[in-house]
Amino acid sequence: MYELKIDEKTCETCPTFDCLVRCQYIDIDKDTAKTEMKKMISGEDSFVLHDCVTCYACEEYCKRGNHPFYLITDLQEERGILPMPKPLKTQFVNISVPTRRDIIQFYGAEEPVISLCLFPQYTRLFSEEKLFEELSIIIGRYFFCHLMYLHSGNPSLIRERLPKIIDNIANHGFKEVIFFHDECYSTLTSYTTAYSIEVPFKPIHFNEYLYNKLKDQQTKIQPLNAKVAFQRNCSARLTPNVEDFVDDIFNLIGAERVERQYDRENALCCGGIIRGQQRYDLFVDVQTRNVDDMLNAGVEYCVFQCPACFDSLSEKVAEKGIKPIMMHDLCLLAIQGSDK
């Protein structure tokens, strides 16, 4: 089956071991990091496997193209280490089992096409909003990327189900598909590459599409002149180059991504998964530090890329007087004015 491409030598010769040293949730020095990585590469147990919050960040910290995070998740499964409780894992497994509604949603899309993953709440946006009216929608469990199993300790399920999902999309004859959910895009670029899974169409990140759309309508844009914080989501760590589109979009719409401690590579998790791992104190601590950092930066908006991050952090952000908003809504604000 699909094997992870990881190079032992590359890791051994690493001068930094940033993958673990820079981890925001496990306090670890370079020597320990080296020892633990060695153990893991040899398939042995490590405390890292037990303490990992599955934030994906080590995948970005490794500048040498190895895949420390994918290694961790594979080992967790191999060794039966559960990052989250059994009933939640069961929920994760069941959530992607197709229902009758998914069958109805299987047909009917034509290029240009956008995949909305499992977020039906945005169907209306993409079918009614003028900016996106050219797009046809694919949605539902037959198009679901399954990357979430990196959080629940059963990543083999991704490899088991993903090829079928890719077939489902490819069988429609699509050459290019825009992915609304960052996680889907990362799956079909980073994860598939690491495991040598073929993707016979071109995945386009929603931000790239959004940027081009805005560029076309640049004359209609009323700059927001607002300071914003950007909440990076976990899968953004798998495809950091896409981050450029975020900055370009912000530039176009007059949003200033204020420098702050917990942005870019130092971003903190939204907290959702940490709560799901039942680490309540850590969850509270991470959210509090993150939102306080936004407050100190004096931002007006907290901009979310991922609907799941929005669900887990928006209430806390709003409580502190910062407006939580999805990336596309911020762009629509710049195009249609603040009364929208």
Binding site: P85, K86, Q91, I95, R275, G276, E315
Partner: protein, 459 residues
């Protein structure tokens, strides 16, 4: 019959008396699956005096009389099995008094839970009552006379435990006050008098018609939130309930299990509601509850669910419309359930029986349980959606309901608001002296057997 119609129109404004087919049809059934039976008249009185005159008429003519609230028990408790007069009490829906200091309310018997909720929110925002999961059209008294439960049941017991007084029209036409209101102008308590309220609670209108009620109100906190603890193994549920009730930190504790949608499949959810007047209070309570369940978290057997805001909203809603929506699961417009009151430790057994019965009959299910008191007992519902337009499906569901009643009694529980066949099962199992006492009480109060006949009746 025409003379009775005429007599009724002399008691109640003619436009609120009907003997027309359409009203008789509608009042012949409830949304459950018990066999319908038409009344001869439907009448909607406005005052206790009118109720009294109707009862006197029925007693004189020896014709059955059935008091009706929202008709939502689903167990056919207000189906007029022997015809007669249906008394729809919903025109009597005034709030008569709210005592903020002593935290009680006095109201008329036709007041709906929806309207009472709205009334308190508007005029007494610091007070609340135990809102049941029934639709807002259920009447407060209707819910209480069947020993209903609500959002405050884990804290304060059955909703019927919250009664402070009543006004009742006896089957022979006398109007009686029960509780402190019989001695004093204040309806604050049933104690310290002999507890006569028990003569009317749980009797399904077979001993008299309640026309007014006094009820305890409780402090309403500013904030509400919910945590849902999920497990896969039903054997863990009693322990989880024990640990959470021990903290005394939650408002309401309920259980839920259903095979659909897939995200809820194969797990049992224990909903734990929290209230607080400040964020600090809320967070303190939340932390206490998380700590209380740490052992189940450590074993990885249980965990607090991740919820989207709309799921949370659904679970916090009062009354919760998702309970009602269960009727449309199969696009069939109906659901039936048996909700026995069981000892908490019997949860695993009840759950196993539920799975066995649904498998046997090839039907889907929804389980909703509610902890009563600090784990003093719980309601465990075996809920089955059915298709009103499919007689075969109805038959299967009826059989499942029968098996469920048997199972409920088997495991040591008592079916809640039992339909007539289940009442018979209960009475068969009941201590004979107790049964005789029940029948004697009924005979004394209702010598002509006019009150909701067919219910709590030995053949």
């Amino acid at each position: 019959m025409q003379s009775i119609y005429k007599s009724l129109t002399k008691i109640v404004d003619e436009e609120f008396v009907s003997n027309q087919k359409e009203e008789l049809y509608i009042y012949s059934q409830d949304p459950g699956m018990m066999e319908p039976h038409e009344p001869d008249f439907v009448v909607m009185p406005k005052t206790t005096e009118e109720v009294q005159e109707i009862v006197k008429l029925a007693n004189k003519e020896k014709i059955p009389i059935v008091p009706v609230g929202g008709s939502l028990s689903l167990s056919g408790l207000v189906i007029p099995h022997q015809g007669g007069i249906v008394v729809d009490l919903r025109r009597m829906d005034q709030v008569l008094e709210v005592n903020e200091e002593s935290r009680y309310i006095v109201f008329e018997a036709g007041l709906t839970t929806g309207k009472l909720k709205a009334y308190l929110e508007k005029y007494h925002p610091l007070l609340r009552f135990s809102i049941p999961d029934a639709p807002p059209s259920a009447t407060v008294v209707g819910n209480i006379v069947i020993h209903g439960q609500g959002r405050l049941t884990q804290q304060y017991g059955f909703n019927s435990d919250m009664v402070t007084g009543m006004e009742v029209v006896l089957p022979t036409g006398e109007v009686c006050k029960i509780g402190s209101g019989s001695v004093s102008p204040y309806w604050f308590s049933l104690a310290p008098l002999p507890d006569l309220a028990g003569l009317f609670l749980g009797w399904f209108g077979t001993t008299g018609i309640i026309t007014k009620m006094g009820l305890k109100l409780y402090p309403k906190k500013k904030l509400r939130d919910i945590e849902v603890f999920a497990v896969e193994d039903p054997n863990l549920v009693p322990d989880v309930i024990q640990r959470v009730t021990h903290t005394e930190m939650s408002e309401d504790i309920f259980t839920g299990a259903q095979p659909y949608p897939p995200v809820f499949k194969d797990i049992i959810m224990i909903g734990i509601l929290l209230t607080g007047d400040s964020k600090e209070e809320l967070e303190f309570k939340r932390k206490m509850i998380w700590d209380a369940l740490q052992c189940h978290i450590d074993s990885k057997e249980g965990g607090f669910m991740m919820m989207t805001p709309d799921v949370k909203q659904d679970l916090l809603e009062m009354p919760t419309s998702s309970t009602t929506r269960f009727a449309d699961v199969k696009k069939g417009g109906g659901f039936e359930y048996c909700g026995p009151i069981i000892p908490v430790e019997k949860f695993p057994e009840a759950f196993t029986r539920l799975l066995e019965i649904t498998k046997k009959y090839g039907i889907t299910f929804g389980n909703a349980g509610r902890v009563i008191g600090r784990s003093h007992s719980m309601m465990f519902s075996f809920g089955y959606p059915f298709n009103r337009a499919d007689p075969e499906n109805i038959e299967r569901t009826k059989n499942a309901l029968h098996d469920t009643n048997v199972a409920s009694l088997d495991i040591g529980g008592v079916p809640w608001k039992p339909e007539v066949p289940a009442q018979k099962m209960i009475m068969e199992k009941m201590d004979k002296s107790t049964l005789e006492l029940m029948q004697r009480i009924k005979k004394v109060l209702d010598p002509n057997g006019i009150m909701n006949p067919g219910n709590w009746e030995v053949e």
